[in-house]
Amino acid sequence: MGQLSGPTDPAADAHWEHSHPRKGFFTDTSICIGCKACEVACKEWNHNPQDGNLELLESSYDNTGALGASTWRHVAFVEQGRERIAEARESGRALVNLGMPPIGPPSAAPAIAPDLAEVDTTPPDTADFRWLMSSDVCKHCTHAGCLDVCPTGALFRTEFGTVVVQDDVCNGCGTCVAGCPFGVIERRRDGTVAVAAEREDQHAQHPAVPNVGIAQKCTLCYDRLVADETPACAKACPTTSIKFGDHDDMVETAKERVADLHAQGLTEARLYGANELDGVGGTGSVFLLLDEPEVYGLPPDPRVPTADLPTMYRRAGVAVVGMVAAAALAFLRGRA
């Protein structure tokens, strides 16, 4: 019947007969150069209208702000000094020392690398400054909050295990927007470019706005996957910081990469979304971050709301019974 939480193969869960291997991203932010080719390639492929008010967003080189209805790829920029780098390295080491057993089948690598605490983790020249860059995208969760709460079936699980909005079905009820624990999906307002007041006289036209009023998010280029083509952002990424492939391979590559970095003493590296046992059953897009998730604007412990739905229905049931009882009591007392 399909699970509400825990590790599973989402496509099979959704009863696709000929289900393909699950597709996904691995975004290695340690080699991202913040060029935003992914943002442009995605907008250009999906004809997403320009959004934002054409002013500096006061966040380093990021003038996009966040994911949204017309921005399905967002590159974050965080400038950090020496103490913050040390803190990140410290929090990373704490993660390593949680003594977690290797996740899933013990991979070829020997048992978890020796406790890294003593290894001299200050590489030859600890940078006194670093500039984090990371390309954020829809997580295509194993248990997708948006998909579950969608009343019209506009959001659906594709045979590739990805989550896609059907533009011709969605009536813009917006419940998915609140349902997403990562704040990815959004309903596309009509006003796409609020050009700053004094630029009103500029007559630069803008492309017509498709799909106004409808919830919109990354489709992992479902239309391209159908023809076995690589998603636009992964194809454009100059340093392959965005890698695309079968989800299991992506998780494997991510684990190898983080192990390499730890071996070099860069313990601030950590994976995000690679753990099947997390609150959303692991994500289709796996990330390698170099600091706490919230520094990038990601939730530290997201949990798909549907996981608690059974309890909510039970509590509601009790409430209904209480209400009917109260009504009955009111009428019985009244007659007595």
Partner: protein, 894 residues
């Protein structure tokens, strides 16, 4: 670059300006290579580099000189490579005096013309004479066009007979190039680098150690640079310094080595190979200058001597083939192959001189072909004011760029300097075809020609430049058809009959065929040539550009080769065509030792195959294929035949890599540190403050800020540098009209360090006004630790970063002030490129004044600084101390 073990990116911001090219740096890094980024700013390149070393803009020669000094004193230089392949052992003429002796000048400097007489730099000859430049006669003393001497020689440098070059292979004789170089850089110490560049000694040690550890037989280091180096008044010397360092370390001609020029634009390499440049003819043949190349004989004698080694000796075949290509039948032996049809230069006619010509009402018509000088060229105000003096202006572009609309909504209209109704200029705006609406070839930064097929027809009234100029040429020739005026002969005899397609547009492939060249007579007349070695000086061959010969070999368009990369080796010879002769790494003979064996298995590239008696390997050998390593041809021979087995530098007159450049450069045989035209720091190495041979334009509208030590230097205390962002393209013509790119970087901003922001009370993301002696602009303030103040010359130097993509106009999606308005015009003497990477300014909070108050503000600053026409424009800083007869010192009147 993917094979490099260490990559030093200096004078470039590769991850932002060449992102896809950066994949190979990322690949090398993934394989363990060290990536070091030396840049005034911490940029996205530094974010993924192993180490970022902040440097004061303009002090690159101090760093590179110190590296050379480090390599020599610590005996880390690649001995066999240097002694065999460079002119280290060559003796230099006795009259040569180094900058060490003359307080910063070299021997032969003439303050009158501000140029060098290079006789004293020549190699010493057998009997103590000098190896003269044949055909140019004894050419001592000032010469009217000496100022423009630099560009009269083309790529191979001036002719030089190699016959009796004196050598001392023990490298001990003080007159050897090696000893001169050692002495020249002796004072470039790590402490000097700390003082002049603001780089800690520890960082310098790290850089020096990393480079030297990754050089030698097994490992190679690669340098990458772009306009960060070239856009200085000392730009050419920056690159020369890197060349010397790389030669000393044996990092030239080998895989993962060399000095990678990251050219800026799609076909900028193409537009210097087939140059729409004033000083060059296609194939780097120089444009003839009046007084030096009055006849074909003078011309050929000046640029190459028959007794010179290397392929440059056959310049006569290349030149005559070009003339045959242009004037076909009208070019006959009797009229020197129509040599007299070529116009002559009388000095430098670069774009900045042209703009000054406009201001003096000498220029009437101006074509802008996909260029936006109102925003992209230095001294934006001068560009716009110049254009207002024109009679007619033709702008061909995709969008209504600022250079086409300055008369309606440019900054000068706003400041009241120009009134639209008074501007006489007629402006034609012709819409251009985009890159997918026309077929043609681009030449990218690795000299690779790639063909673009036409996808769709140009929309509306759009035309490609090919169509426009073909039609313009036809109309001009029709209008002049009847003329018997001798002036019009060159136009009427021009070969202009290109086959046209059904719409009457010329076939691009036909033009490429003409560029490739063909046999004109004999058995295979009309058939395309397949290599430039087939060119003959007897008029039997024609070639539009000799270095491209071979692109159309046997009638197929090799630029259109598209064998997928994954189906061929890393050099991928069957993808596009690289000039010359589809060779990918130049001078790759140097990837093998003098005996022809590879230096190491890991860095194997081409080697001598004993049984085949040929050079073989992964690339087309850049050497006569059958010339055995040990061969020593008869010294009397000239041209390619004269190349001995161990002369990898086949274009140089002596076949060797030049540590010391006896000719070819106008501002010194060895890179010497001089401060920029405007600098808050005094030159701690020499008394000479700025480069003596720099080209200055003392004009009231081109005032310079006083440099360190002179009064008023504190009025413009900060250094600013201009640069590009990934999201925008140069002057914004192809990016600020695109919504998707404009929203990524919407507003003009300046990057300042927290310390400077505190000092000047700049509020993060608030507004700031930046003032220079030329103009004042406004920009949003980004306060970031990526800009670091540097302790230089005893005081703190703050640097301000200014991207230059924005321009004032009403048509773009986003607009803003142009950073280039702040820049003045001071040019590098060798290549006439402007200094836009370092200049002085002041910065204060708040938006800039509007209208006439803007001019008042700039004037008030100029007055306070006391800057006059003479400020910063003195050739010799302190004549007495620099061995110049004080009597002759005077400001150059030009």
């Amino acid at each position: 670059m993917a094979n490099a073990d260490c990559i030093v990116i200096q004078g470039s911001n590769m991850a932002e300006c060449h992102p896809v090219g950066f994949q190979w740096v990322a690949e090398a890094k993934a394989r363990g290579a060290k990536v070091i980024h030396v840049d005034p700013r911490f940029t996205r390149t530094s974010a993924v580099a192993d180490k970022h070393i902040p440097i004061r803009a303009g002090s690159d020669v101090v760093l590179l000189g110190a590296l050379i000094n480090y390599v020599i004193t610590n005996d880390l230089w690649f001995k066999e490579y240097v002694s065999a392949y460079t002119n280290a052992a060559t003796l230099v003429h006795d009259d040569y005096r180094d900058a060490e002796d003359l307080g910063g000048l070299f021997s032969g400097f003439d303050p009158e013309t501000g140029a060098y007489d290079k006789a004293s730099w020549a190699y010493a000859e057998g009997e103590g004479g000098t190896i003269d430049e044949p055909g140019a006669g004894s050419e001592h003393g000032a010469d009217a066009s000496a100022r423009a001497a630099g560009h009269t020689f083309g790529s191979g440098g001036p002719a030089l007979e190699h016959a009796q070059v004196q050598r001392d292979d023990t490298l001990q004789d003080p007159r050897t190039v090696f000893q001169i170089v050692k002495r020249h850089y002796a004072r470039y110490t790590p402490e000097m680098v700390q003082d002049m560049c603001g780089i800690e000694v520890a960082d310098f040690e790290y850089l020096a150690r990393t480079i030297s550890e990754n050089s030698g037989r097994d490992r190679t280091t690669c340098f990458a640079y772009a306009v960060g180096w070239t856009q200085h008044s000392l730009g050419t010397q920056f690159i020369r310094a890197a060349a010397i360092l790389q030669l000393l370390l044996g990092n030239v001609g080998r895989p993962g080595s060399g000095i990678m020029a990251l050219r800026g634009h799609a076909s900028i390499q193409g537009s210097t190979d087939i140059p729409t440049l004033f000083n060059l003819l296609p194939g780097y043949l120089p444009m003839p200058s009046a007084g030096r190349h009055d006849t074909l004989g003078d011309y050929l004698g000046a640029i190459a001597s028959k007794k010179q080694k290397g392929y440059w000796a056959d310049a006569d075949a290349y030149t005559i083939s070009l003339l045959k290509a242009w004037w076909g039948e009208a070019a006959r032996e009797e009229n020197d192959w129509a040599y007299d049809y070529l116009p002559r230069l009388t000095g430098a006619h670069g774009t900045y001189e042209t703009v000054m010509g406009m201001l003096a009402d000498e220029v009437e018509g101006y074509f802008l072909l996909g260029q936006n000088p109102a925003v992209g060229s230095a001294h934006g105000r001068m560009q716009r004011l110049g254009m207002s003096h024109l009679k007619w202006l033709v702008v061909r572009d995709l969008n209504l760029i600022e250079s086409a609309t300055w008369w309606k909504d440019g900054p000068e209209i706003e400041s009241g300097e120009l009134r639209t109704e008074d501007i006489e200029t007629e402006v034609f705006f012709l819409p251009a075809a985009s890159h997918v609406e026309k077929a043609g070839s681009f030449t990218q930064t690795q000299r690779l020609l790639q063909w673009r097929h036409q996808a769709v027809a140009p929309p509306g009234e759009c035309q490609s430049e090919l169509q426009f100029f073909f039609e313009l040429g036809q109309r001009i020739r029709e209008k002049l058809a009847g003329s018997d005026d001798e002036r019009d002969r060159p136009l009427l005899d021009l070969t202009w009959d290109y086959p046209t397609d059904e719409h009457g547009d010329p076939e691009p492939e036909a033009v490429l065929a003409e560029i490739n060249g063909r046999h004109l007579d004999g058995p295979d007349a009309g058939k395309p040539l397949s290599a430039y070695t087939e060119l003959r000086p007897d008029g039997s061959t024609s070639a539009g550009c000799w270095i491209y010969t071979g692109v159309y070999a046997d009638g197929t368009n090799h630029a259109a080769n598209r064998k997928p990369g994954r189906e061929q080796g890393p050099a991928a010879p069957e993808w596009g065509w690289a000039w010359p002769a589809n060779r990918r790494i130049l001078y790759n003979r140097a990837s093998a030792d003098p005996q022809g064996k590879p230096w190491s298995e890991r860095k194997k590239y081409i080697w001598w195959d004993e049984d085949q008696r040929r050079w073989v390997g992964d690339d087309v050998p850049d050497f006569p294929v059958d010339r055995a390593p040990g061969s020593q041809p008869d010294p009397a021979l000239g041209g390619p035949a004269a190349l001995s087995g161990d002369d990898p530098f086949i274009m140089q007159a002596d076949g060797k890599g030049w540590l010391f450049a006896p000719t070819g450069l106008v501002d010194g045989p060895l890179p010497t540190h001089y401060e920029a035209q405007e600098s808050p720091v005094a030159n701690a190495l020499y008394t000479q403050q700025q480069s003596p041979a720099r080209l200055v334009f003392p004009r009231p509208d081109n005032l310079s800020a006083p440099s360190a030590g002179s009064s008023g230097a504190d009025v413009y205390p900060y250094v600013f540098t201009t640069y590009r962002l990934t999201e925008h393209h140069t002057a914004g013509g192809m990016s600020r009209w695109l919504p998707y790119l404009s929203e990524l970087q919407p507003e003009m901003f300046c990057e300042v360090s927290p310390e400077l922001a505190a000092e000047r009370g700049l509020e993060p993301y608030g507004w700031a006004t930046i003032i220079s002696p030329r103009s004042a602009i406004e920009a949003k303030v980004i306060v970031t630790e990526r800009m670091t103040p540097l302790a230089v010359g005893g005081h703190t130097v703050h640097q301000i970063g200014l991207p230059y993509h924005w321009g004032v106009g009403k048509n773009a999606v986003v607009s803003g002030d142009a950073a280039n308005d702040l820049l003045g015009v001071t040019l590098d003497p060798n290549v006439q490129i402007q200094e836009s990477k370092v200049a002085s300014c002041d910065i204060r909070p708040g938006r800039r004044p509007r209208g006439a108050d803007l001019l008042a503000l700039v004037a008030e600053y100029q007055a306070r600084a006391g800057t006059t026409i003479e400020t910063g424009n003195r050739a010799v800083t302190d004549p007495a101390a620099e061995g110049i007869d004080p009597g002759t010192d005077s400001t150059m009147e030009d």
